[in-house]
Each structure stands twice: as C-alpha cells, then as structure tokens.
Symmetry: C2
Subunit: 396 residues, 2 copies
C-alpha cells in the first residue's frame, strides 16, 4: 500500500518505536521519576515569558486578516529585517531582509535548501557522527550522502580525508555545529580550513559547492565559546536555523534560511528557494509565530538550565570512569561504550532504568548519545545507576 521508498524507512521506524515502547513500559512499571530517559532531544528549558506577552500584544495590536493571512512565501518583510539586524548585531554580518527566508523550522529549511540546489545523483558530504534524518532529506531529492570521518578523540573533522572525498559529484557539505550528537563546536580555525579546501576544490573542479550550515543549537554554546558564523568564511553558504532550541518552541515549526548576498546568483537562488517553500507544500512559515519572532529576536532560554546539567552529567560520568569528549554546545553528550557493541552497553544500562541511544543511530557504532535536556533531578538521581553500570564494566 505504501510507496517503495517509504518501506525501508518504516522498517527502521519500528526499531525506534520499540525503544520508545520499552521506555513507556519502564515508566509504567517503576514510576516515571525512577526512569532516567536520556534518549530524547526534546528541549525542556522553560519558554521565556516574553513569548506569551508577545502573542497577546500582537493579537491586540494587529489586524487579524493580515496577521493570520498569506504573505510573501519568504515571510513577513518586517520580521525578516528584524532577524537580519539581530544577526548583524551579534555576529558582525551584513544581512538585510532579502537574505532571510522564513521556514517551517530548520528541518523544512534544509528541505527547501536541498530542493533548491540538489540534483539527483549529486553528493552531500556529512561528517559522522551525525543526525541520521539528514539521510532522508537528501534522499527526498535523490541525492547521495557521503560520510566523512572525524577524529574520535575530538570529533573534529578529519580534513585530509574530507578533501579526498570531494569529487565532481559533490554539491553540498552539510555542517552541524554545535553538533548533534557530540556537542562539539567547530572553532574558527576549522571553519577556515574547510572554507579553504572548498574554495580550492571549486576552482579545481569548476563547479559550485555549497556549505549548508544547520544551526539549531547556535545559541546553546557554554562558557562563552564563540560559534563562528560560517557565511563570513565561505561565500556559497546557506544557513538553516530554528527557534526550537533557543526559545523552546519546537512544536511551532519556526525557523529561517540565510542566503547571503555573497552567494553566487544570490537573488535568483533566494527567489528559487522562496518558490521551493511553496512547492514542497509549506507555502510559508506559520504567520503568528513569525510575528512573535519579530518581537523576540534577541530573547533566549536560560542557558544555565542546560549548562548545569552538562556539568553535573559530565563530571558524574567522568568520576565513574567513563570516556567522553566534554560537550561545549547543544544538549548532548557522546559517551564511548566500554564494550565494542554499544547495543550491549545500552541493554545493560536499562537494568538501572537508564535509557540512551546507540551510536549506530548516528553512523558511529561504539558510542552512545545522552540527551541532557532533562530535569536536573533526573541527572542527580541517575548517578547511582551509572556507578553500578561502571562497576559492571570494571571502571570503578
């Protein structure tokens, strides 16, 4: 009954479902407070109070037919200008409304970008480990994902291998920093080197290669670490952004693409992307939420909410003897499994009501992902279980 292309996806889906069902079963059996579920990347920091106030103000001040109505497929002009100015203030860029295209979250933004530029058979290079849903998006346009390696001690890109993977089929390099699942942030030096390689390869191959920078975690960077703004280093960069994490609004599906003026044929690419937004069926980003963003463009969730979890979980796990790169951003930690098959490790953790996602789900076996967007109590209370788990593997 379903399309052939959906069949393998649905088979994979039933594995994920089994994991969720196990979690629900555990919660029913032991009580939700006794289950330490680190499997879900679901933002849970409080929604800033400015959001509610902005919605009420908008409802009181704006004409309803315009507020809830169609606008340009790229979004409300005033909102796009506010976002551009905020980026310029914060990152020293020089965007205008004509560089900002409002999208139904970053996932849809990535689809708009790929629909706009990717041809069947062309390659998208992604550094592993990575969020595997990227595979779906690339497959939507019949492209091919090429995995590039990272250094397992740092999760930084292995640039020598990367350069060798660039061919006359390469169309996009998809970056994600701060990274899901490792929490690693690429510093300026790395971005510069990637840009240098791509500039050289563009000339050598005589073709345009884009960076798509997926940045839903941009604001979740701890200890004042800077997240370089990629468009400043490489002209043919498209940024995909979402307010899901910075404002805890993942259900609202609101984000944007940045298509900088420095990108080749920028205006035409922007127009094409606006049409792609329509063609893939989104038409435009939800209108009320666009207006909310226009008024809350510099608001963000309390970073300390996640940072406290990061510190407690990292220090707790290190004290147990586990091996992990300390995350600098996002709300994930990527732990080395003490045994080769991380599925065994995940299974052992379940005995202590601890749920983690196997690294295989991020194209990186031998590791597990812990999402620390949970209550601080969950982390504190999980530590007995982690200590027992560490003892099992002779780490304590």
């Amino acid at each position: 009954m379903i399309a052939e292309k959906m069949k393998p996806l649905m088979a994979n889906n039933s594995a994920i479902r089994t994991m969720f069902e196990e979690g629900d079963k555990m919660r029913a059996e032991h009580g939700a407070e006794n289950v330490y579920d680190f499997s879900l990347g679901n933002p849970d920091a409080p929604v800033p109070s400015e959001i509610k106030q902005a919605i009420i103000d908008i409802l009181n001040e704006e004409d309803p037919v315009t507020l809830h109505g169609y606008m340009s497929n790229a979004g409300f002009e005033d909102v796009r200008e506010s976002i551009a100015q905020s980026l310029n203030r914060r990152f020293g860029t020089s965007f205008g409304s004509g560089n900002i295209l409002m999208t139904v979250g970053a996932a849809s933004g990535l689809n708009v970008a790929l629909k706009t530029i990717l041809n069947p058979g062309e390659e998208v290079i992604i550094f592993a480990p990575y969020f595997l849903e990227y595979n779906w998006y690339v497959d939507n346009y019949d492209g091919k994902v090429v995995q590039a390696p990272t250094d397992k001690n740092t999760f930084y890109p292995d640039l020598e291998s990367f350069e060798k993977l660039i061919t006359d089929k390469t169309r996009v390099v998809l970056l994600n920093t701060p990274n899901n699942p490792t929490g690693v942030i690429y510093k300026e030096d790395t971005i510069k080197k990637i840009a240098e390689i791509l500039e050289r390869k563009q000339k050598e191959l005589g073709r345009t290669i884009f960076i798509i920078s997926d940045e839903p975690y941009r604001e979740l960077a701890y200890g004042g670490i800077e997240v370089p703004y990629v468009t400043k280093y490489y002209n043919n960069t498209i940024v995909a952004y979402s307010y899901s994490k910075s404002l805890s609004l993942p259900g609202e599906r609101i984000g944007y693409l940045v298509i900088p003026s420095e990108l080749e044929d920028s205006e035409f690419v922007f127009d094409t992307a606006s049409n792609a937004n329509r063609i893939i069926g989104c038409v435009n980003a939800p209108s009320l939420q666009q207006k909310v963003i226009g008024r809350c463009v510099d608001v963000q969730v309390d970073l300390d909410y996640y940072d406290r979890n990061r510190t407690s979980l990292y220090e707790g796990l290190k004290a147990c003897g586990f091996d992990c790169v300390k995350p600098e951003g996002a709300f994930y930690m990527f732990l080395k499994s003490p045994v080769e098959d991380e599925n065994d490790f995940c299974a052992a953790a379940k005995k202590y009501n601890i749920l983690m996602v196997p690294g295989t789900a991020f194209a990186c076996p031998g590791y597990v992902r812990l999402a620390y967007c949970v209550s601080h109590e969950t982390i504190v209370n999980s530590m007995d279980g982690f200590r027992n788990l560490a003892k099992e593997y002779g780490l304590l």
Copy 2:
C-alpha cells in the same frame, strides 16, 4: 546555480511575477480603490473572534513547554479526537483520533499523502480545469499528472473519458470539490459514479487506486448545497483539509489528513504518513494552532461575506452578457472568454483596471478565473468596467 528540476518552474514563476507587478503598477498609478483585482485567491472574510479568545485562553491555561513543544508527528491526540467528533457530527462519518493526521495546511497534507503512496512513474488523474500547483506536488515524487476532461457546460467530470484514462499506472485520482477555479460542487450522484468506476477498475487491474480529495473549500458551499463526504462512498480515500478558508487562517498553515479505517492497511498507511510528515521536514503541524483548532472545531467565517459577492458578481456579469457556470462553492467564478485567446480578453480588461487570471493557468484555455474574495465595494465598482468590456465584444 539551482537544481535542474526548478528551472522550468522558475521560468513560469516570472510570468506570474510580471502579472503581480502589473497590478502593483496599476495600484500606484490609479489608486488601490480604482483597481479591481480578481486575480488572488486570498481569503479575506473576517477571522472569527473565537480565534483570538481561544489563543488567549490557551496561553492562560496550558503549560508553555507542552503547548509549544514536540508531540507525536500526527499531532495532539485531543485535537485529533475533537476534529474526528466534529466530522462525525456534521457528516455522519465514524472517525476517531487515529484517522486524523495534523498537517502544515492542505498543500503540505497533499505532499504527505503523495510521499506516502506514490511511486515514480505512477499516474495521478486530475479533472481539468484544476489548480496547477498540483503538478508540482506530483512531480515532487516523480509521478505523472494525467488530465481528465470535464463537460464545458457544467464542469462536471466526463466519466466515460475518465474511465478510459485509468491504466495499470494509475495510483491516485485527485478530486477538488468545491472546485478551484470553477466553484462547481460534485453532487452525490457524481461521487457515487466515480467510486463505482474505481471499484471496478481496482478489481480489473488488481491494484489499489486511491482518491485524494482536496477539500479546503468544503465549508464554502452556498444555498445549503451538500458537499458529499467522499470516504463514505469509496474506501481508499484520503481527505486533505485546511482551515485557511473556513477560518481565514491561510498564513498559519494548519490542516489535516483523514485516513479512514476502511482504507486498506489503514493503520500502517497512517503510521507511514506520520513519518512522511517528519521526512518531508514539517515534523508536525504548528502546535499552538493545533490547540486553537481543538477549541474552534465548529467555528467558521461568515459565509454571507462571500455569498453576497458571488451573487453580485454573477448577476452583474450575466447582465453584461458574459457566459459563466454559476458557482455553488469556493470563491471563484470561471468565465468563458468572448474570444478564443483569453489572454487578449485579460489584456482588454486591464484597460478598465480589471485583473483576472487566464484559464491556461488552470489547464483550460478560453476561460478566465475571477476570485471574488474581495470587498463587496470592489465588485460593485468594477461593474462599469465590465460593461465597457462587454460593449467592446458586442455583448451589450
């Protein structure tokens, strides 16, 4: 710079842009009140006051992290149940929450449905005239649109020709009633006959053929005319719905799919469609608007707003001697061009500041579409121009 597939679409887009720019130029030159723009299908009936109140109540009553957060890709369970019950009350169906999948408007719903069931090379039959953006959606999945004829005196399907077009490549019949651009509503008799043909063809060809019923105009039916609920007549029907027109919320991108239990493998198809919602990048329908719908499930715009326009425009045009099927639903009128090339007719109308869309844009040359979702004043004031136009063609 852009994907090959986007190139013809962008060429077509520049023609539409030219039309809009002409309209803007006219408005700047003659004043907006002196331009009679019937080219845009942009709902303009007042948004019901219940919407604002529902948003405020929701903000005051619900937990923000849950309200703006992720939910199942199919949408909030309680909202889906409310919609199911409303449909059951109004149309005598027997849906539950498990049959309703919340989507980013109907355009996205159609994409979710096609992603779920359509394979490359398979055919989608659509009765012409029709909304040409359907072509894009079918092309997104590498399907092929097959145009089926209608009777030009009634715009009802020519069922004999339709039956002959069904082959071993047919996967979907896409219906749109009330219809854009004709305003025609298919009565029970027509739906029954289409269902009979499809039942017979499914057996004969040994394959599943779906109806996708695109129903954003369902509630815009005038004079108490009934719009048959297609799932009651044919099991393998998927309904795509949007609140864009019934609540004047087109910018909010909120709608749903109905996947009835009678559809073959219904639960699996529903699960697959929920995943398709994620895979195409929407993830879920905007969360706050879902909750708004949950509370406003039986609310609708004032039908008289459009009905008054319908009557005035139809009677005015008939009095001028123009030829037109009286629309029973939606907010469009499909006028026969008094000359073969309707582009000449559109160009002549511009002299009187009247803007209409050539029928070629709906796969039906020789006609023009007038969208009467405009102020009543616009219609009244346009009549002098229409009379002059009629005189030019010897109709008055």
